[in-house]
Symmetry: C2
Subunit: 282 residues, 2 copies
């Protein structure tokens, strides 16, 4: 495992907020991530909640805008937020569009060129990053949960549904739930995975949940004034998919909230409470 480089560290809610990079073997590139270690970690390993961010975001976005540390410090949860893609890889076109390439990794392992060499975010998030965290921070390797926002909500659902024993709980804020059926997902998947839609099901929460439910209750919040609700997000598709296989789902429509981080900040406390309960610290 390569050495970590620390870019910044700040005291925060009696814990430690830090920003890192390391040479990722999954992505064949440096990957950046942020870690909040709560004060409870002074007394022994703590559970880890991973947060996956949305299009255009970085490892900083959630840690700066969501106000989650206040809750993580109360519950004794470590927070880990990776960047949303590798960057500066030299991949042709990686910086040309906001929904493809840099900031738009979609938490999958790309199989199509020119993306396959570096865009291996699924492997990075589910395997390499937990190894890095558990080797370098006071993390309990038996207790992980995951959540995310928008594209990161898609990522969290996919990671949890494909690895139900690896994550105790999963939740999402305004997630993409059916990427195979909406414009963002169809564009990204056709570029990263190729144009055969049968290969897309491995990264489609609606398809995955019908193959193998997660089991424990999934929490989703969705703003009713979200500008992407009807065209891109379509949470009703996930409701139908969960109902078909008796997957417990709490989908809350939040009146008047949009897609941004003022929405995320409002409900992040409920999500961390959901994970704290599943992780046995509440």
């Amino acid at each position: 495992m390569s050495a970590l480089t620390r870019h910044a560290q700040h005291r925060c809610f009696a814990g430690t907020m830090s920003f890192w990079s390391h040479a990722s073997t999954s992505c064949n590139a440096p990957m950046r991530f942020a870690v909040f270690v709560p004060p409870q970690a002074a007394h022994g390993p703590v559970p880890v909640v991973y947060f996956l961010a949305g299009l255009t975001c970085t490892e900083e976005t959630f840690m700066i805008k969501a106000g989650a540390q206040r809750w993580a410090a109360e519950y004794g949860l470590m927070l880990v937020a990776p960047d949303t893609s590798p960057r500066h890889t030299g991949t042709p076109g990686e910086d040309d569009e906001v929904d493809l390439g840099s900031g738009a990794g979609f938490y999958l392992n790309a199989t199509a060129e020119p993306w396959a060499k570096h865009y291996q975010m699924y492997r990075f998030v589910t395997e390499e990053l937990p190894q890095v965290i558990e080797a370098n921070f006071p993390a309990d390797p038996q207790r992980r949960s995951i959540f995310g926002h928008s594209m990161g909500g898609h990522g969290a659902l996919v990671c949890a549904l494909r690895n139900p024993t690896r994550y105790r709980s999963v939740s999402a804020l305004a997630p993409i739930v059916a990427p195979s059926q909406i414009p963002w997902g169809q564009k990204a998947f056709s570029k990263y995975l190729g144009t055969d839609p049968t290969t897309w099901a491995e990264y489609d929460a609606c398809a995955l949940v019908q193959r193998q439910p997660f089991g424990a209750m999934i929490l989703i919040d969705q703003g009713t004034s979200d500008q992407f609700l009807t065209h891109q997000l379509q949470p009703d598709l996930f409701v139908q998919a969960c109902q078909a296989v008796d997957q417990p789902l709490t989908l809350r429509f939040q009146e008047g909230y949009d897609h941004g981080y003022f929405f995320v900040a409002t409900f992040v406390g409920d999500h961390l409470k959901h994970h704290a309960q599943a992780l046995g610290v509440l």
Copy 2:
């Protein structure tokens, strides 16, 4: 009073976060400000807490990074954050330095050229902005408090000490308390007010408190790992000034915290509690 232009609005903690500009008569320029209206305002006017930000910040910084809306929504406080200066005024050199001009208004009324025409932030913050807020938002004009960070902590202390009947309470996070005695202040004051230091006392909290104490207890938090602590901030000078006139002061040194918004976010709840108590909502 000129019309307000709304640039953005978001639902947030069951209240409303919005961003505005208007043609300021004080500054002879457009001024931007942000307003969080808590859910309690649906039932009648609420008290207002003004927040003044530091060097390089805008009206967005505090609202995005501090997580204060969570507390304001709990206590029923409106939050108002103005930009830290006028911008794009055409003043020669306004964008040349981070500690002078744009983003560095220092909450004073400039008397020296070329700044006097637009840099009238003291008048804007203490007179014009409250009039705008009280005319356009469900604000109780009898209940105002003020706080700020760094240069904005200086601004909050100056505004409150010069107008003890206008503000019920004042607090500050890592404030400049003795601008006449430290590099940031000496540079800015000599440019904005001229080189005669006797004119600077009107904007120097240490000088002002000795002339007329505020009365009610002042709360200040200061991180011990703040990179500006010994060279620029020197809170001990304010301790001495307050002691000389029996001004009640709670100065808390917070171990290991630096100058940034992870520090502000950690303690903003305590500051809003301080103001909520003074404003009679807690």
